[in-house]
Point group: C3
Chain length 355, copies 3
């Protein structure tokens, strides 16, 4: 059996196959309308996210399956202190596959190890959110038919943006992708991520000037610049409009530029951009649904009834007494969870939250 904690759990071949399935679903929806008949998806959202939850639920319904839905932890027995592992074991009795969002980092890994059915991580705190990245990949693939040879710009909060880091890592697995990193100094891509790009040999440019960068881009991935990220409020005020995308800033763009955004936006893309031919962020939402359909099919087909097979990234060593330094880590709240660590070039890391 397989589960998906991060997009890297899927090989490039598997990613290609999932993208191909999604594109076939788009072409031939009727052929898939009964594929999950009598199958049930449980959407366990310990933290609310209507968009993501409904995307999974629409996906399962379009496959002919049905849904058990938990939209927030207020309505869960989590408040009675049940562990994530026990919840996963219980839901195994009711459903065929789980999509889980949880505020604690590493929660999806704990669930995947305990469950007897596939688990899809629908976001575990600030850690991983693989189906967002799948949506991003399909959107680029449908616009260009390929990943190689593209210059992909990321704009906004490159320091904390989980979706940025995840898509960057995914795109680095393809040949000949170049990156343009557009952000204020305070929100630059972390040095270790920058190093990873360079180690891969991917061409990479850093700039603070969105408008100047646009003409070189094939893809522009926008994210939000949040005031809370700035120590200096005046600096935020000075910069904030620089990273708001408007039709004016798009004047010099390539005709095929694709503009992506993980949504929800606040004001970082003007609604006046919505009619621009490059605006791809609502089709990105629809693509998210199609990729979730393809991923559900992939995981249900892979379910051989055996224990879950996870990649080496999720295998650690016991370290009795190890205490993770990340307060958002699942290890601080989960009952009887063995502390597991893994050795990385930067030292010992908690296996669950990778802190």
């Amino acid at each position: 059996m397989r589960s998906v904690i991060d997009v890297s759990d899927l090989s490039v071949e598997e990613l290609g196959s999932i993208i191909a399935t999604a594109e076939d679903i788009i072409e031939n929806p009727d052929a898939y309308a009964e594929r999950c008949r009598r199958k049930k998806l449980a959407t366990l959202f310990f933290e609310p996210s209507t968009r993501t939850r409904m995307s999974f639920e629409a996906a399962m319904l379009e496959l002919g399956g049905s849904v058990l839905s938990m939209s927030s932890a207020a309505s869960s027995s989590a408040s009675k202190g049940e562990s994530v592992a026990d919840t996963a074991k219980v839901i195994t009795q009711y459903a065929d596959i789980i999509a889980m969002r949880h505020p604690k980092e590493g929660a999806a890994l704990v669930a995947a190890k305990a469950a007897g059915i596939p688990v899809i991580n629908a976001g575990d705190g600030g850690h991983c959110h693989p189906t967002q990245t799948l949506a991003d990949l399909l959107t680029i693939h449908r616009r260009f038919g390929r990943f190689s040879g593209l210059n992909v710009g990321f704009c906004g909060d490159l320091k904390y943006g989980r979706t940025v880091h995840s898509l960057l890592r995914a795109l680095m697995r393809y040949e000949n992708v170049s990156f343009t990193l557009i952000s204020p100094e305070e929100l630059k891509l972390p040095a270790y991520s920058k190093a990873a790009i360079e180690n891969k040999g991917c061409p990479c440019v850093e700039t603070a000037d969105l408008e100047a960068a646009i003409p070189s881009l094939d893809v522009l991935y926008m994210t939000r610049v949040q005031q809370e990220r700035f120590a200096d409020r005046a600096e935020y005020e000075r910069l904030k409009d620089t990273y708001v995308l408007t039709p004016e800033k798009l004047a010099g763009a390539k005709p095929h530029l694709a503009i992506l955004h993980p949504l929800p936006r606040v004001n970082e893309i003007s609604v006046r951009v919505d009619d621009h031919p490059g605006a791809a962020y609502f089709e990105q939402v629809k693509n998210g649904k199609f990729m979730r359909m393809a991923l559900i099919l992939f995981l249900l087909e892979q379910n051989d009834g055996g224990p879950v097979r996870l990649p080496g990234r999720w295998t650690g060593e016991e370290r009795p007494g190890f205490v993770c330094g990340n307060p958002a880590c699942i290890s601080h709240v989960e009952q009887e969870l063995s502390p597991l660590v893994k050795l990385t070039p930067e030292g010992e890391k908690c296996l669950y939250c990778e802190h």
Copy 2:
């Protein structure tokens, strides 16, 4: 494409056709059991209302469709600041039709203009709630087979009662309907509504005496008299029992009197009335489900894939700098919403909340 913000968006002919469909559904439910197969209704309730939400969901299920459900805003990305327009564009990617309840007045109009699928207003603050009025109309039609020639009494809070105003306006479109307005002085029908009735030439009587009025009525529409509406608590205490319907007050009623109530009731209709043959408020609930089925079918059939066509009432002019005076208006919270106004005999009004 069509959407329904208010019951007046439907012509009298369309209303007749929707009532006919509802009555056919009641006669031949099997013929409709698969009509919405593979269609999805999204119930977006930014404000909870289990009764209304379940009515829409039951309607879609009885048509063979399925449901994406959001039961409260706590579980939405509204808390992250997403606009109603963006939510509508996102849900367009997942569903075939939207039923939306929102605490802000005008929210349904904003959604209808942004969405690529039909939107049914399931209540936007104190503004419109068309499917309640559809339920009321079908209940009267099933009891009498007609609207003309009926004397319809409205009792209770006629000043603030949204359902009262909406049903009054709907019934005024039919020939030869007369009205009996029963309320304390503090809660009388507003002068402009009274004037509208008189302009239409509908016979209309005002009284404060429920018991005396009952013998003349064909329909009695009860609503709640809330203490909060009274400046003087003693006055409320003096009056409150006057507007509580009991079997005793019904002694002189016509044998075919139909008693309606939008529910939930608190104590304004004694439970001892529930067994009275005139008590129609629970069949009104069921009729609401049937009318929602008919309306869903109507809107899905009208969906030609084109932009939404709304009646003139919902078309305004841009007024940069116009600020709506209604604090509950959607225009105060929605991102980048152009201020739109319309000219009415009473002056300029906000297009969204009509304040």
Copy 3:
């Protein structure tokens, strides 16, 4: 028409038939996959319980039916003051059967008397929770093929544990079942329950020593010992580990011992016990789903369209002026509810909460 407030509403013959149906469902799931086509279950959870709600919903989906779901009272019109009886009458217009959880004791009885469709009590405060007991019974029956001749141990909080009292009463209806009651002095089974066992002539042993009792048991029903139950915190600290089940304590157990727990557990069963062949608490969860399927089928088949038929236990006499002494009783909040009492050997009791 029938409804189920408590497991005692079902005769031993009916219980046997429901267990037989559940076991047939397990053997032949395909034969049941369309049995509730076009039927709707409403899950009305005025108090959240994801586990129980999803069990009911999974049950209905596996019967081919569909679900109207209310996961918490925050999203209900209960906040507008609607009575339980009115809610039941409204949902009757939408659904074919109701599963209701409510924090007030007696709420399910009020709903069952008002509804025009069968009501299953999914927990009314600390009063009854029959489908948990059905899950327990099926789990024992599948492990042993019988109830008679078994020695069933109950461990933990036997004073307040609703599930313990309910399963005890259910098992006392079978021949030749003996009981071992394992608890600290503070949490012993109440005297009247002890007397009921003795009156039935069931062999019964009381002890405070879990480990010593285990070798004699066929079934061990674990429950949680909560700190709040102890006046003396030191006493709690002294005792708490005594009632934590570990593989070590199970060393002397019979090979066929079945370990049950109503879940959620906190730490009263070590996760190291989960792989023990006796650990039956997750199959108990699955059995709960199968019993709910069987109960839904039973009640839908029994629905002759007539008024609800309840056993004598739920028939009382009017006592105007009677005020129930139980603050958690539904009678204190339900509008216009006639005070009903019944005579028992211990004196007059409130009919609703049986206090």
